[in-house]
């Protein structure tokens, strides 16, 4: 073949130029000015029809007040936390993100969130005017988010299954155990109670098991001091182990599958937020109609709650607009629309209408526990960012107890020493 006009040097120059163009590209950082948006909101709940209605109401209020548009950019729920984490670490987060209890202290410790005190002061509100769960978002005297939903736990059970088994709603530990036994029928795959026993999602495992721990007045932390071997904690774990060994609870299922089974009438009771009932309505109206709540039959005096807040990342492209989105959430009418459609406890008491309570009378005790402050966050906030490791250690300890057939004392002794090692 004849020689080519392309010389080696020319080739290298060409590729260097190409690389340079590729790297500088159009990398001018977000050219949109702060006051016109559109803003990026990331909450994966948006894919659920009820939440879509609720969030659209927020968006409408926001657009009315600012004229800016909103892009819902959340990845699917199962991918949400890791995707947002990546964006936060890389410095390109959305303008509004949803934060759950486990992430909050870490995000604040890393300086990834903006304080949003001015959102409340603009509305002449104080943190104490909101649901007590919002207090969890106050760290070092600054407020880092607004509660989008707070879900105190309730004892949810399927009345039809209970009636068929001839059992009434349990009122204490003994009748609870009896109810569970009578409504379990291995032959038809029906279980008296259900909770997460699958590894892989430590915060969710913790959320599902803590109601039992609290139900016996047990705890894993006293402030920042680990108390895994506390006698009441061990008592609670004995109870959990008994349910497992006697096959009264499905094995190895995650929380979402348990909820699905509740919605299909295969699991007779569970301790969870009221959203389980509302979700059930969308998949199986017949079963959903049978679901109701009863006062917590466990002896303990503490109720548990889990919350989700909306916050504004520090590196958001439109931080001021992001804050205005939070402000829109707090508008009383928006709160009512939100609450009515999703069935959660929202930040402002005014959001919970009499109409809703009339239609769902069993919701009243949930509201009460939320606003009286008797519901406590499940996440060990006192130890700050180490909370996630602690939660993983505790969860693994409990799973070790169940799957490796260890006694609660043995498993918790190990857990305790690991927790102490966290420092």
């Amino acid at each position: 073949m004849t020689g080519q006009p392309l010389s080696r040097r020319g080739f290298l120059q060409g590729s260097a130029a190409l690389a340079a163009v590729a790297l500088t590209g159009c990398s001018g950082s977000g050219s949109g000015s702060d006051s016109t948006g559109p803003i990026a909101v990331a909450d994966p709940s948006y894919t659920q029809p009820a939440y879509k209605t609720a969030m659209d109401a927020v968006t409408k209020q926001f657009t009315k007040q600012t004229g800016a548009k909103v892009n819902q950019v959340a990845p699917p729920s199962a991918q949400y936390t890791s995707a947002v984490l990546t964006q936060l670490q890389a410095g390109s987060p959305p303008d509004v993100i949803r934060i759950d209890d486990p992430q909050l202290s870490t995000y604040v410790a890393n300086g990834w969130l903006l304080p949003v005190d001015d959102v409340l002061s603009d509305l002449n509100l104080k943190v104490s005017d909101l649901v007590p769960a919002n207090g969890d978002a106050v760290i070092d005297g600054k407020l880092y988010g607004i509660v989008k939903e707070s879900n105190p736990r309730a004892y949810i059970y399927n009345k039809a299954i209970f009636d068929k088994a001839g059992v009434a709603a349990p009122t204490d530990l003994a009748s609870l155990e009896q109810a569970i036994r009578k409504t379990t029928d291995a032959r038809s795959g029906q279980f008296g109670i259900g909770f997460n026993t699958k590894q892989g999602d430590p915060p969710t495992l913790f959320i599902q098991l803590m109601p039992f721990i609290y139900g016996f007045d047990g705890k894993f932390f006293d402030g920042a001091k680990p108390t895994a071997t506390d006698p009441k904690t061990l008592e609670a774990l004995e109870f959990i182990k008994k349910l497992w060994v006697d096959n009264l609870v499905p094995r190895g299922l995650d929380a979402v599958t348990i909820n699905t089974l509740v919605a299909q009438g295969k699991v007779a009771s569970t301790i969870n937020g009221a959203f389980v009932i509302f979700q059930a309505k969308t998949v199986n109206a017949a079963v959903a109609a049978q679901l109701t709540t009863a006062p917590n039959p466990l002896p303990g005096k503490t109720t548990m709650r889990a919350s989700a807040i909306w916050g504004v990342p520090a590196k958001a492209k439109h931080p001021d607009l992001g804050k205005k989105y939070l402000k829109a959430l707090l508008d009383p009418t928006v709160q009512q629309t939100f609450q009515y459609n999703t069935g959660v406890v929202v930040a402002r008491r005014e959001g919970i209408t009499d109409k809703f309570l009339h239609e769902n009378p069993w919701f009243q005790p949930i509201v009460d526990s939320a606003f009286s402050g008797s519901a406590v966050s499940y996440f060990p906030q006192a130890i700050g960012a180490k909370g996630n490791q602690a939660v993983q250690i505790i969860g693994n300890g409990i799973l070790d107890m169940l799957y490796n057939n260890k006694s609660p004392e043995a498993a918790m002794r190990e857990t305790q020493s690991k927790l102490e090692g966290l420092g």
């Binding site: 590729a22 790297l23 990398s27 709940s45 819902q72 699917p76 890389a90 979402v256 699905t260």
Partner: protein, 301 residues
């Protein structure tokens, strides 16, 4: 007495292939065939039964999903799930995006990878070995750890939330295997072919295109199928680099069926089946191409 020739060398002139096809249709009845049939069955069952279960679950009525004992036969059916998938989501749009990504990445990876494999096959200098090892090293760390720096690299290049950027990333995902497989295939082609062509005055590129690649067709097809399916299924980079839901490929979109609190298993399975169809069709098409390449006497004597 014919000798068994070592692989990679064409047989001497004594052995003549009777026709383009392999020697006749010699059937040996007897225990061998039965043993073979059993083996086929043993491989077929673990493949077919779960597939059957997927299809059955996809069309199962929702309230029968967790029936005990599980209904193994096609009863309690409600094919509405498939329609629901189309109604509730943009699955066709997602699959269109996936198709674009897979095709473009596979083309790019073949374009970039086959020449690299050829170069590595024909040059065994130390730097060539270092290059080959380097290609492998890129695969040795869990990609989970690379997501943040990759995001930053792409952001600085203006390629986040763009399909072009994702195509570049996906090409990188399948390149290593494309390079190494090409190298392995080309290793089996004797260098005499190269040298003969170069004596005729062909440049290495010409040798690659006109001499080597026609012989490699089965290998190329294999690389192409692998690339397509790998990118089709890829979701880590997709979920990291793509922000707008309307640019989701189907691999990411599939996750959106998993609600926060509920999983409609039948919908997920229905979507999964739809998701699996295009690669299946592609495979059926390329299979014919594979056989056609062989029948044309691809392996030159």
């Amino acid at each position: 007495m014919t000798t068994l020739v070592a692989p990679g060398h064409t047989a001497s002139a004594t052995a003549q292939p009777p026709t383009g096809r392999r020697a006749g249709r010699r059937r040996r009845r007897g225990p061998g065939t039965w043993a073979a049939a059993i083996v086929v069955l043993l491989v077929a069952l673990p493949v077919a039964l779960p597939v059957y279960w997927v299809i059955l679950t996809a069309v199962r009525r929702r309230d029968a999903l967790y029936a005990v004992p599980p209904k193994l036969l096609p009863v309690a059916i409600d094919p509405g799930a498939v329609a629901e998938v189309f109604r509730e989501t943009e699955i066709l749009h997602w699959m269109g995006t996936s198709l674009l990504l897979s095709t473009a990445s596979t083309a790019a990876a073949t374009l970039l990878g086959v020449p690299a494999g050829y170069a590595l096959s024909r040059h065994t200098s130390r730097s060539a070995r270092a290059y080959a090892s380097g290609v492998l090293v890129t695969q040795m760390m869990p990609p989970l750890l690379l997501l943040v720096p990759i995001f930053v690299v792409f952001r600085e290049s203006g390629l986040t939330d763009s399909l072009t950027g994702l195509i570049v990333a996906d090409t990188a995902v399948i390149l290593p295997l494309a390079i190494w497989m090409s190298k392995a295939m080309i290793d089996q082609i004797p260098r005499e072919l190269d040298e003969a062509a170069m004596v005729d005055g062909c440049s290495p590129w010409r040798v690659l295109v006109s001499v080597i690649m026609p012989v490699c067709r089965p290998g190329l097809a294999a690389v192409a199928i692998y690339g397509f399916i790998e990118v089709w299924d890829e979701f880590l980079f997709a979920k990291t680099l793509i922000v707008s839901p309307d640019r989701w490929p189907a691999s990411v979109g599939l996750y959106s069926f998993e609600g926060q609190d509920l999983i409609p298993v039948n919908l997920v399975m229905a979507a999964a089946i739809l998701f699996t169809l295009p690669p299946l069709v592609l495979f059926l098409i390329t299979r014919r191409g594979l056989v056609a390449g062989l029948a044309a006497g691809a392996v030159k004597g």
